[in-house]
Amino acid sequence: MPLVETVDLYRKYDGQDILKNINLKVDKGEVFALIGPTGAGKTTLLRLIDLLEMPTSGKIYFAGRDAAKSSKVRFQMRRRMAFVLQKPVVFNASIYDNIACGLKWRGVKKNNIRQRVGAILEMIGLSAYQDRNARTLSGGEAQRVAIARAVVTEPEVLLLDEPTANLDPLSVAKIEELITGIIHRYGTTIIMATHDMPQGQRLAGRIGVLINGKILQAGDPREVFASPRSREVAEFVGVDNIIDGIVVSAEEGMVGVDIGGNKIIEAISPYPVGEEVSACVRPEDITLTPSKTTSSARNAFSGQIIGAVSLGPLSRIEIDCGFRLVALVTRRSAEELALEKRKQVYATFKATAVHVLRRN
């Protein structure tokens, strides 16, 4: 039995559909990441799961029980969950009092509180500041306090809404470390919303892609990233190359996709001839060479560099091969190969790197 389950969940605001037909199952001990662009409905879904709002239609089950039963039932369920909001929210009180409030409200004894809060303070590294007013903290510190405050109540489900949005990279790393620590120490079931895909990939065992209020794909992170099931998911998970074409040859699982201009992309796919498809290639799977090389890659196209942008340790190269290709190479490679505008290059990628999507 899943710990949290939603069935045909719909949520409307002022006539607008925010969430449509959400069917989600999260098992005990899972770490589930909900990824999607801003405004997709991630916060709303988390709020519904935490029973802060009621759905327009559909059902929510917690540990097998229907949350719609009564507000008393919901109150009990809420006490077994904890929610950390996107914006770090701390009460105008000391750090200790902030973290302790959930325990106080549950009537935990003072000594017990002191013990548990002390332990958590250690974990977030703020023991020395426990009497300081929480309002004086930086964003990152406040978020750590907020997470500690949620975790100290030992919830069965921890809901995190974009916990590292608005934070600097160092704070992001600290928080991710904290979350991982929580997962290891308490084995809490975690449902987190994030628009940072690599973060989702790093922390989660399973990912759900929420776009425009619908969960378009859910599953193993690698699978979602490498084999998006729709164009929208593909675009969101960073597949920069989505090339439309028609299958013109299909033999032993290998297909040739005619993308126009007499160019064929070879890929592994079960689709038959005549199927209208899109060929998806992740930019990091494309290799660039100055001249035609003998490589085992089945796809090789020559083209002219029309754009080269440095992204820190990586470089994003845009090439016109008669169709647009985007490649992601290390900056070192870019420098060594002198990849700059108007240079002629060869872009190669394996057939196994191509993921074929049925169009529409």
Binding site: R78, F83, L85, V89, F91, C101, G102, W105, R106, A146
Partner: protein, 228 residues
């Protein structure tokens, strides 16, 4: 000008010599207004929380009415309370007309709209995220209300101070329902009214200065707490 100066001199003399009648009147003003403020606070803080955190049809209208009642004229409230508690009135059986008790009741009615309205506005000023956080952390309705009241304590206290200020400075109600009885229901404000009409401006001014001083001291004390 000389009158003002003489008033100030008389005020100082009365205070320093701890003139018994003046002390008694001042003590009574303070006692009645402090009690009515405390009772009004005990009613309005929880009521304000209940109204603030719940949605119900007519909530907007209710809040508008409360705000309109801010400017209740004291004589009007006084008249209303008098007619209620007079022996010939509906609640006359209690026999509390012309006593400090009915003055407290009247003042509670007078200042409750202010306290209620300002409490509601203070609570609405608190970020919704705080309410959500508290609820998600498992706070019961009551626990959540206390948390939000604490977050808004600065603004809430301001409302309490305003209420007290209105109570201690009103004349019309105290006069009507208290009767300005010497030794029993005379307050600083009703005494000023009486002394002025009798032509003893010096004493009136002195009482006025004492009243202002009293209000200042109380305000200062409450402000200190507010700052913490």
């Amino acid at each position: 000008m000389t009158e003002l100066w003489e008033g100030l001199v008389t005020a100082v003399k009365l205070i320093i010599s701890l003139d018994p009648e003046v002390m008694e009147i001042a003590g009574r003003s303070l006692a009645i207004s402090a009690t009515s403020s405390a009772i009004a606070a005990l009613i309005c803080l929880p009521l304000g929380a209940v109204i603030s955190f719940n949605n119900f049809p007519g909530k907007r209208t209710l809040i508008n009415i409360v705000q309109t009642l801010f400017s209740l004229p004291t004589v009007a409230v006084g008249l209303f309370v008098f007619v209620l508690f007079s022996s010939a009135g509906p609640v006359g059986g209690l026999g509390i007309i012309f006593t400090p008790t009915v003055m407290v009741i009247g003042q509670v009615i007078l200042i409750s709209p202010i306290m209620l309205g300002l409490t509601i506005s203070a609570l609405s000023g608190v970020d919704k995220a705080i309410t959500d956080t508290a609820i998600s952390l498992g706070a019961s309705g009551f626990q959540m209300a206390v948390t939000v009241l604490r977050e808004a304590r600065f603004a809430v206290l301001a409302g309490l101070i305003m209420g007290f200020g209105r109570a201690i400075s009103e004349v019309g109600l105290s006069m009507m329902v208290g009767g300005n009885i010497r030794g029993f229901t005379r307050t600083i404000t009703t005494a000023i009214s009486l002394e002025t009409s009798k032509g003893d401006l010096e004493l009136s001014l002195a009482l006025g200065i004492i009243l202002i001083a009293l209000a200042l001291v109380i305000n200062l004390a409450l402000n200190r707490i507010q700052q913490r």
